[in-house]
Symmetry: C2
Subunit: 349 residues, 2 copies
């Protein structure tokens, strides 16, 4: 046994949803957007010309585009390689205290992975039986707070008043609100960053903007938080954002009409799909995200998951305590959801 093995960092990595390579799959397992991105992306492709040079390390065009869109200044915005990169850098930057950071017991399964990777102590706060977050669980001393809103994989939204309550009770630590799914029906906490200098709000291009393939996430927060994140980022890799993503990401955020249209289509499909699923005997939290997290009154989630996969319909199943009888089903197009419902009707008959 060579000793170099002793010095390898021990981790249990996050397992991403499957990315099947076969054709004809209905993919409702990774919360991607079923619509193509804004046509402005393909138009902007011709502006990707200078690949031999390093990209702008500050990705200023992209940062400014995002800042303008949200009504902030460019030193209040941080960009990264998807919101996972943004969140990983935030963990590394802000969670260096001795007290445990807090997050819900049922939540985005990357939080405990990052905590383990960076050796950050953490404590989970159980959701209630309806899978709701209670703000008072986050009172008291801690090393930081993070939660998604809407929560994943439940889809449940915490009202902005309760979000502010958590922030108000935690002004000595950094509070991160992970808003990957906020555009599908929640109220963003971004305006609260003007009131609370310890609040970081994280959003992404991967869901509502249909650009998971470009890997763009961003954070909004006060200048001091953003500077600290950039310092850490520049200590990790000066050029995390590649030229195509900068060029295309800057173009797409300007197409507000397309964004509103496709977002509304998904919300409409979701609300219709919820009614159909109730008729079939499923129950779920009232999702405000582009997925629902559902349990059937009789059929086992794992069995449905496997039977659906046989039919080339991929949904997400988590073999974890408390949620091992639930399926997370992404909202695809109306047609895709109809095929899934037909499958369920046949399966449950």
């Amino acid at each position: 046994m060579k000793t170099w093995r002793d010095n390898i960092r021990q981790v249990v990595p996050y397992t991403p949803g499957e990315q099947p390579k076969e054709q004809g799959v209905i993919k409702l397992n990774t919360n991607e957007n079923p619509y193509p991105p804004s046509p402005k992306v393909m138009e902007a492709m011709k502006n990707i010309c200078n690949l031999r040079k390093y990209p702008d390390p500050g990705a200023v065009d992209l940062v400014e585009g995002i800042a303008d869109y949200h009504g902030f200044s460019k030193d209040e915005v941080f960009v990264g390689v998807g919101s996972d990169d943004v969140l990983a850098i935030a963990f590394l930057t802000f969670f260096n205290g001795k007290r445990p950071i807090l997050f819900p017991d049922i939540t985005y399964s990357f939080y405990d992975v990052w905590a383990d990777l960076f050796q950050i102590p953490y404590e989970t706060k159980p959701l209630d039986e309806q899978f709701e977050i209670h703000s008072e669980d986050y009172y008291g001393e801690n090393g930081g707070v993070i939660f998604p809103n809407p929560n994943a994989p439940t889809g449940a939204l915490l009202h902005i008043g309760a979000v502010e309550d958590i922030i108000r009770h935690n002004q000595d630590v950094v509070v991160i609100v992970d808003e990957a799914y906020i555009d599908f029906g929640g109220e963003t906490a971004k305006e609260l960053t003007r009131k609370y200098d310890n609040l970081l709000v994280v959003q992404t291009y991967s869901k509502s903007r249909s650009l998971a393939g470009l890997r763009i996430g961003y954070a909004i927060g006060n200048k001091e938080l953003i500077k600290a994140m950039n310092d850490v980022k520049y200590s990790f890799n000066s050029y995390t954002m590649n030229e195509p993503s900068i060029v295309l990401g800057t173009a797409v955020i300007k197409d507000e009409a397309y964004f509103q249209k496709t977002k509304s289509q998904i919300v409409e499909t979701r609300e219709w799909f919820k009614k159909e699923m109730k008729k079939l005997g499923f129950s779920f939290a009232d999702s405000k995200a582009n997925f629902i997290f559902a349990k059937h009154k009789e059929a086992k989630a794992k069995d449905i998951f496997e039977a659906a996969k046989e039919e080339k319909i991929y949904v997400r199943y988590f073999s974890k305590p408390r949620i091992d009888n639930y399926l997370r089903i992404t909202i695809g197009t109306r047609e895709e959801m109809e095929i899934f419902l037909s499958f369920l009707k046949k399966y449950l008959a």
Copy 2:
């Protein structure tokens, strides 16, 4: 003073070379390739179609393309967002011992930044007066070894026999050979990864392949090292590689003829440029990279740097002990180097 500030990770970030936005600049400051990438890149642009979906988390097409090219299997290759990402992940994965890691005192200035970021103890080994590495300086107990070959910013090449000598004396720790510039005239250590299971060889698309804008770097090593790096990577961000980079990066590595041609042009320009620089009173290590690291017998490096910038010619100057009278000058096109030489002749007259 809010206490959240106390828990921010303290770092002194790496300062990348300037990326001036003005037109008409001769940019010899960041070791980019003066030639455009292979035309296969622009052809492959039309294959970037599915941006709404997450990319393949394993970036298998790209990994296989690189593995095939180098004659390795795909589980012996790790890809990342430029070699900086690959190196940062390697530091995080392998350098977790209590003993200091070793690297040269004059070297890529990111090494101490990563060590500080991840709180890894380190010790530097001075280069000799000719800026050469001596392999025996790396004997003895340590937590790992890393050095670039050719070294940066000196351009000096360590002969493959001396590289192996360092590895042979350090089989209990991971040894990383950072070969960002190897294609411009050195012998790669990649074959030694078959003999030493603790050796990691890192290369990049940013220099010899003219694709700094895509952010692609990679490592070659035994399966166990590569798996450990992937575990850490998947614990940081499942999807670091974006779709355009996967598609374009896979296409370009197949164009060997273009690669050989442009590489030879740079080597030829470098050898001619060295002679011209000697005539002007400059001295430098015998660079095997796409830059030279030169000092003038009379004129001060900082003054030349500033005067060149006035003329819109950017070279790199490091205000650091032992090297504060040197300029790192990237090899551009023959025409660019002629303009730089004309400037120098006038300046030194």
